[in-house]
């Protein structure tokens, strides 16, 4: 039995790797995606373009604006002199925000009166707008603290001392790059397993396979193993790139990561084989993979938090193997998790894997008849 399965596995690898273009598809795209995602997928704002509308001629407004000019988070792109120009600058996206300082600014402050600063911000991208407003506020707060100290405005009764755990500089790359391990492993594994049976059907070699002494279960195992090997290698490679190229820390237990990867591959292959045994042509297989992948990625917490989704959608994510693997990856990479803290993620993965494998083998046998 093992000899038969081994022969089939070797044949599968040859079929996958001998064709130049399908070999390229397994190696090239994941690499490109890794780089594009790793560099492009970021929420971190730097060099926020802003414009200044300063009607105050005093030194205070200059001091305040100096703080913005000195900050690497901001980049001044325009100076406006009236409301019309202000609208144009925002409308045409020359600046994300305009700082409007009124004519009374210095006088108000010197007379111990609170002085308003208007921040007009482009809300077209609501996330960017929220983050930029936070950044503006922290510059204003720093100015406040300094000014209050110098001119005896009194101290605020309390002050927040904020620290971030696990990712002290709040780099979104540390969040996104470990997620790419799950994303690309899922894509590659599904492509390898999801198209394998369909390709044989299309080329007519599936009938030949059926008349060999291989049992349906053996065929299924033979189809599963290449996905396991290729997916595992791909994941290990991306994890290495994450650590050594992107500089993401990996502080948890490698054993916990390995176990998570095994279970995740098990679940992904089960789903891939299910798609494969349903598809008659490669195009249908590809479409099936795509129709599963897109929701699986979006509802996994890869880019946006699951906690923000409406609760029926949140319940749906419990069926998604990527959800659990993302927690495992980020836990091991950033939070230093080990086997003990992650078992709540392991068992759902195991159940999803087992169910999808059983379903795949049932579908497989029944599509034969």
């Amino acid at each position: 039995m093992f000899a038969r399965i081994l022969a089939l596995v070797i044949k599968e690898f040859l079929a996958l790797l001998r064709d130049k273009s399908s070999r390229a598809v397994l190696i090239g795209p994941p690499l490109i995606q890794l780089l594009v995602f790793g560099y492009g997928a970021t929420f971190d704002l730097n060099h926020i373009p802003y414009a200044v509308y300063n009607q105050d001629s005093g030194f205070t407004s200059r001091e305040l604006l100096g703080r913005f000019q000195g900050s690497s988070a901001f980049r001044q792109t325009a100076i406006v002199h009236n409301e019309n120009q202000l609208a144009t600058v925002i409308n045409t996206q020359k600046a994300l925000l305009v700082l409007h300082i009124g004519p009374q600014f210095t006088r108000d402050l010197l007379q111990h009166r609170p002085a308003p600063v208007q921040i007009i911000i482009d809300g077209r991208n609501s996330n960017t707008a929220t983050l930029a407003l936070n950044d503006v506020n922290s510059v204003l707060l720093a100015f406040d603290r300094n000014w209050a100290d110098r001119y005896h405005w009194g101290k605020p009764p309390a002050q927040l001392d904020i620290r971030a755990w696990f990712n002290p500089n709040l780099l979104s790359r540390w969040f996104i790059v470990p997620g790419i391990v799950a994303l690309l492993t899922l894509v590659v594994t599904l492509l390898v397993t999801g198209l394998s049976v369909a390709r044989e059907r299309e080329q007519g070699t599936f009938d030949q396979l059926l008349v060999t002494p291989l049992t349906p279960t053996e065929i299924l195992i033979g189809k599963a193993i290449p996905g396991f090997v290729i997916g595992g290698m791909e994941a290990a490679f991306i994890a290495l790139v994450a650590v050594f190229w992107f500089g993401v820390p990996l502080i948890g237990s490698l054993l916990a990561l390995g176990l998570g990867l095994m279970l995740f591959l098990f679940a992904a292959i089960g789903i891939g084989l299910m798609i494969s045994s349903l598809a008659v042509t490669q195009q249908q297989g590809l479409l099936g993979v795509f129709l599963f992948l897109v929701p699986a990625i979006i509802l996994s917490g890869f880019a946006t938090p699951i906690a923000n989704m409406p609760s029926p959608v949140q319940d749906l994510t419990y069926l998604n193997p990527m959800r659990y693997f993302l927690v495992i990856l980020r836990g091991v990479f950033l939070e230093g998790d080990g086997l003990g803290t992650l078992w709540t993620q392991y068992w759902p993965l195991a159940i999803i894997g087992l169910t999808s494998m059983l379903a795949a083998s049932w579908l497989f046998r029944h599509r034969l008849a």
Binding site: T130, N137, I298, R330
Partner: protein
């Protein structure tokens, strides 16, 4: 160019679309699935964030601080007796942050000094952590104001920031995601579907049969362009209807202007799809290439979710060769801000050039040859 031959080809293409369930799925099922997923599933607005609260010595002052947290829709406080318990809860991912009012909080405050309030946030999801920090700052500022009001004075901080958020005052992330999604959906129909069908024609050998017939190469190309243009515009109208009707995204600009730029973008996407299929004449490879060079960039590098200005300079520069980038800008503007012509002209010109470039290149590459 022969009218009868062309209509024959177009008729054949529509028959194929109707008969193949997978083409219909890409054109109609996928837009619905994507719109529902993004409309309902993707939100960058954090609400009810679970936050651990530790009050070491309860007092009226600490209660008023915590009350602000309880009233905020952004937070869902959970109380812990000691910082150790709260830390444990954060390690187990039960809370996303901790607010720690230490023992001397009330004493320091009453003495007239500044009390330090310890805040820890889970920084793994950096974007979310930043939003949570911002919301916490808001709670704190509210508390300061209320405290000042209660003691009969106005809050005396030097600068009073007044934020005016244009175009999307409630900062709903859905309002910017759904318009951008239309670009992604049209890329799928225009580039992925077109690349697949032409590659299939090559794979099955029916392209050879077409070439042996009297139709010219131009007719073959137009015979592909027109049906998928119609399908793509159908998908776009459908998406716009869902965006406005179901997701209540406002359309501030002119509908016909939207239609015009969509058509321009669709031509560029179709050009890319045809070009890909003339290079990769097998469905598997054409599908992969289309996903890599059209779908993923439209998703990641177009400004649809991730702001282009946040990207490192070389990547931000690279986005200029992605048609979806220009279309996403137009879409977000036309839906949320209205008709801003200076912005449309530049981006529209870029779209026009790209459509001409891709279609021209396809035209040049397409000869009646089999190699």
């Amino acid at each position: 160019m022969n009218r009868q031959r062309l209509t024959g080809l177009i008729h054949k293409e529509f028959l194929q679309i109707r008969r193949d369930p997978s083409a219909i799925a890409i054109a109609f099922l996928l837009p619905v699935v994507l719109l529902f997923l993004f409309g309902y599933g993707v939100s960058l607005n954090a609400e009810h964030v679970p936050i651990g609260v530790v009050v070491e010595q309860p007092s009226p002052q600490s209660s008023s601080f915590v009350a602000g947290l309880q009233q905020s829709r952004y937070f869902q406080p959970r109380f812990y007796n000691s910082i150790q318990d709260a830390r444990k809860a954060m390690m187990q991912r039960q809370v996303d942050g901790i607010l720690w009012l230490r023992g001397p909080f009330t004493r320091t405050l009453l003495r007239g000094d500044t009390a330090q309030v310890g805040v820890f946030v889970n920084g793994v999801d950096a974007n979310n952590a930043r939003l949570v920090e911002g919301y916490l700052q808001g709670v704190w500022q509210n508390w300061l104001e209320q405290r000042a009001k209660a003691s009969g004075t106005r809050l005396r901080v030097p600068i009073q920031p007044e934020a005016r958020i244009w175009f999307n005052p409630s900062l709903r992330s859905r309002d910017y995601l759904v318009p951008g999604l239309i670009a992604v959906i049209m890329t799928l129909i225009g580039a992925l579907l077109t690349a697949l069908v032409v590659a299939r024609e090559w794979e099955r050998g029916t392209m050879e049969a077409l070439m042996a017939s009297p139709v010219s190469m131009g007719e073959i190309l137009l015979g592909k362009l027109i049906p998928y243009f119609v399908l793509g515009m159908g998908g776009m109208l459908f998406s716009v209807a869902l965006a406005i009707g179901l997701f209540a995204v406002p359309l501030q600009g002119n509908f016909f202007v939207l239609l015009f730029f969509s058509a321009l973008f669709l031509l560029a996407a179709l050009g890319m799809g045809l070009l890909i299929s003339s290079v990769a004449r097998n469905q598997f490879v054409a599908g992969q290439v289309a996903i890599i060079v059209t779908f993923l960039p439209a998703f990641i590098l177009s400004g649809f979710i991730f702001d282009i200005q946040s990207m490192p300079a070389p990547i931000a520069f690279m986005t200029h060769i992605i048609p979806a980038r220009y279309f996403v800008t137009i879409l977000q503007t036309i839906f949320l801000a209205g008709d801003i012509w200076p912005l449309f002209l530049g981006n529209g010109l870029a779209l026009l050039l790209m459509a001409l470039f891709f279609l021209g290149l396809t035209w040049k590459r397409s000869r009646k040859r089999l190699d």
